[in-house]
Amino acid sequence: MQEYFLLFIGAMFVNNIVLAQYLGNCPFIGTSKETSVAVGMGGAVVFVAVMATAITWLVQRHVLVPFGLGYLQTLAFILVIASLVQFVEMFLKKMVPPLYKSLGIFLPLITTNCAVMGIALICQREEFGLFESTMFAFASGLGFMLALVLLAGVRERLAVRRLPMAMRGTPIGLIMAGLMSLAFFAFKGMI
């Protein structure tokens, strides 16, 4: 039990997928201007990351490894995730239209989200089982959402301050992300 708990806390805070691994940087900067948008994007990432990790785990264990094709991991995963996102989009549009509408543009954006890919790959590198993988993906997704919402909060406040022209927008966003990343280093001592 403790093991799972540590895995969860580790994925969410200590090895936070954006602030420690520095993956998924573009959606992180791009969608962190407003808290409401950040929550939507975070939710979408959690959902897709869990699904993608579970399926890529199955592909790895039942297709790539048995046939000795481990070197095709990256390419195969890209293909799987892209198709999965397409599928999820179709599924939601038909079955849960309100959720589809609220996710809007974020769903297709995730196709090219390296955080999702990263989570799937880390699970393989760490040789997690299926359950551990999905839990890790869930926690990492939550970590992504946490970082995104925190940065959005900071940037919403920054938007109303007087800043030097050259600093406005992405530059100050990146600086803030850097500072947050430093702050997250403090979690290293937890585990």
């Binding site: 592909v59 297709v63 095709l72 390419l75 195969a76 179709m90 038909k94 109303v160 301050r161």
Partner: protein
């Protein structure tokens, strides 16, 4: 190895494609092809100004029939036409709208505390409501400027947002961004329908004006030389500006802040100045009306309330017909106000301007005789306005008042206006102290009689306007104060010859705060009279509402013979029947009738276009207490203008020529310059005036 890798990836891809292919068959969502077509026609700005999540949201809403083809605020009429074409619809034109800023405070609104927080109005507002003493004024940190996606707002030099009308797309982002409601997006109809709110920037004069005219705005326009603009500002609330400029007793001036520096601003003189300019030009400035709605409304009574109601209904796109029992429109402005105060030709010109907007008038048709509520309904009138005024003179309650030679004030003035030449003889006694009494007295002077005006209190308690009292004195009307009629004495032919009266003295104050006159016992005396005119009061003549003047009245009435209606919506007990003016309030000011006529028109508009009449909770009714401070510092004293007299001496007493003239342009500009351009708690100070009298404006 390459072959294996290729094949593997190919088969994974093929598998995924197969699954997606099957899924796309199973999970296919049928989408209206028009959505895509419409989305392609929209500009793709995805600004959300239309209220839908981006252009595809808007396209879906149009196809679903939830939004009109013209929903996009960015695109032009051409795009709307294309979209309407795709939908197979006609384009419904949207009334042009624009963001407007009402606040006039800016940097001159004082600081309540020193604020050093985030430079954003919303953030500042969270801290004790912001740093300005005015609770509704602009905080000046420019949230609206940043919120505008079209760069249509910038901060002006006075610390207030300035809107560029050419760039504004009326998207309303600035409205959402402003925590104090300083900016609103509105078009003509919305402005006509707007009732003053306590959250508006209302100078004291503007709060007091029964017609809710934006007084500071038109005065400022006069100051800037924009006289046509001033006329249009007034016409947004009052179509009878030539009339009001002459006869309005100016309730607004009683609240003018300037009186605490020297004298009130001559607000009504300024109104008359611009009204007369338009009058003398001989052409009516064009007044815009909304697109025809095809709804027929009946306005019963062509007095100020009826004319105002019909005018505003017409401007809102409806088709009113005015029914009036008299041979000409104008009601008591025509039949109760003498020619020397309001020339009939000027009144005709003004009324013609209103009718020219497309209003029908049926004269000499009496309500209750020629038509009834039922026949109007049957003729397809969707709503009915009753503005039949108060035409019945109240009696003196004195013995003998039904003798020949006794004639009520309003009857006398009406008979005179109709050219019936009522017999005055050479000694007239007018009883009463209001404007009707003075009008009757001054009319009799002009007809060559010697006139005594009898009033039961003293001159200070007379309800008539001071200018009118002074005018009457100048023209030789004699006053008999502290006297009340006891009985009318007649000769053997039944004709009044004398009025017996009591002397009175003032006792304790009554409910109205005025000291109650008490009869001095044994003080009876007689005064000779060829005509006695009681002008004590008027009440509505509701006979016309009854079948043949008798029986059950279909409407609820009060003991003052006025019609009962909802005080907010002016709707009577019969749905679709509205009222205002003297028949609702009892005898009141012309400007109150005009103001209420508009409010009734507003209710009728909502009644016909939606199922209820909205009355916002913040609607301003009384004066807003914190705006009524009396310490006005740092303002130089300046003399108030005086209206010129047009005729003097004999000419004045023997003819009905207009007595007062209009200001010259230079005088009007100087008078407009005296206006302090007040907001709720702010006003213009003179930079070099002494500062010793400044007090905190909020105390």
């Amino acid at each position: 190895m390459i072959v294996t890798s290729g094949l593997t990836l190919f088969s994974i891809g093929l598998g995924a494609a197969a699954i997606l292919g099957v899924a796309s068959k199973l999970l296919y969502v049928k989408e209206d092809p028009r959505i895509g077509l419409i989305e392609d026609s929209l500009p793709g700005a995805n600004c959300g100004g239309c209220g839908y999540p981006g252009c595809s949201g808007a396209a879906a809403a149009i196809v679903a029939g939830k939004a009109p083809a013209s929903v996009c605020i960015v695109s032009d009429a051409e795009t709307a036409a294309v979209v309407a074409g795709i939908m197979g619809q006609e384009v419904i034109e949207r009334e042009p709208e624009l963001a407007v800023r009402d606040c006039s405070g800016g940097t001159r609104a004082e600081d309540a505390f020193h604020y050093e927080g985030a430079l954003d109005c919303r953030a500042a507002h969270l801290l004790y409501g912001g740093s300005k003493t005015c609770p509704e004024g602009c905080l000046g940190l420019g949230s609206c400027v940043r919120a505008c996606p079209f760069n249509a707002i910038h901060m002006g030099p006075a610390g207030l947002p300035v809107i560029d009308p050419d760039e504004c797309k009326a998207c309303g982002n600035c409205v959402d961004a402003c925590p104090r409601g300083v900016i609103t997006v509105s078009g003509m109809s919305a402005r006509l329908l707007h009732l003053n709110q306590t959250t508006d920037c209302l100078a004291p004069c503007r709060q007091k004006c029964p017609a809710q005219i934006n007084i500071p705005k038109y005065i400022e326009q006069i100051k800037a030389g924009d006289y046509d603009g001033a006329v249009m500002t007034i016409k947004e609330r009052n179509p009878l500006l030539v009339t009001c400029g002459r006869v309005c007793p100016r309730p607004c001036e009683t609240e003018c802040r300037r009186q605490y520096v020297d004298e009130t601003v001559g607000i009504n003189m300024l109104k008359r100045f611009v009204a007369d300019r338009e009058l003398r030009s001989g052409t009516h400035l064009p007044v815009a009306c909304a697109k025809d709605t095809g709804k027929k409304v009946a306005v019963v009574g062509g007095g100020p309330a009826g004319l105002s109601c019909a005018y505003f209904l017409r401007r809102l796109g409806h088709s009113p017909t005015i029914f009036d029992a008299m041979p000409a429109l104008g009601g008591q402005t025509r039949y109760g106000i003498p020619e020397y105060r309001l020339p009939k030709a000027d009144l005709d010109w003004e009324i013609q301007g209103i009718l020219d907007l497309g209003i029908d008038a049926r004269l000499n048709t009496s309500f209750g005789k020629d038509f009834t509520l039922e026949t109007l309904k049957a003729d397809g009138f969707e709503t009915i306005f009753l503005g039949i005024g108060a035409w019945q003179a109240s009696g003196m309650y004195a013995e003998g008042e039904d003798l020949d030679g006794v004639m009520g004030g309003i009857e006398f003035l009406t008979a005179h206006a109709l050219g019936q030449k009522p017999e005055t003889g050479d000694k007239v006694i007018v009883v009463g102290g209001g404007n009707t009494a003075i009008d009757a007295a001054r009319t009799c002077v002009r007809l060559g009689a010697e006139v005594t005006l009898m009033y039961r209190r003293t001159r200070n308690e007379m309800p008539a306007d001071m200018e009118e009292i002074v005018g009457a004195e100048d023209e030789g009307v004699k006053f008999k104060f502290l006297a009340a009629p006891a009985r009318v004495i007649g000769d053997e032919n039944g004709r009044a010859t004398h009025l017996e009266y009591y002397e009175m003295e003032l006792g304790e104050p009554d409910d109205s705060g005025r000291r109650r006159p008490v009869k001095k016992e044994g003080s009876e005396a007689r005064m000779e009279a060829s005509l006695i005119i009681p002008a004590i009061g008027q009440k509505p003549d509701l006979g016309c509402l009854y079948d043949d003047g008798e029986g059950e009245c279909p409407l609820e009435t009060t003991r003052w013979q006025t019609i009962v209606a909802d005080p907010d919506t002016f709707q009577t007990a019969i749905p679709g029947v509205f009222t205002a003016g003297d028949v609702y309030t009892g005898p009141d000011l012309v400007i109150s009738a005009i103001g209420d006529g508009r409010k009734a028109a507003r209710s009728m508009h909502y009644f016909m276009t939606q199922d209820h009449v909205p009355v916002p909770e913040t609607t301003q009714k009384g004066m807003i207490p914190y705006t009524l401070f009396k310490e006005i510092g740092q303002v130089e004293r300046k003399k108030r203008a005086v209206l010129p007299h047009l005729c003097h001496g004999d000419e004045r007493n023997c003819t009905f020529n207009e007595v007062e003239g209009s200001l010259s342009e230079a005088e009007a500009r100087a008078e407009a310059d005296r206006c302090l351009r007040c907001g709720l708690v702010c006003y213009d100070r003179d930079a070099d005036a002494p500062t010793d009298r400044i007090e905190n404006a909020n105390t």
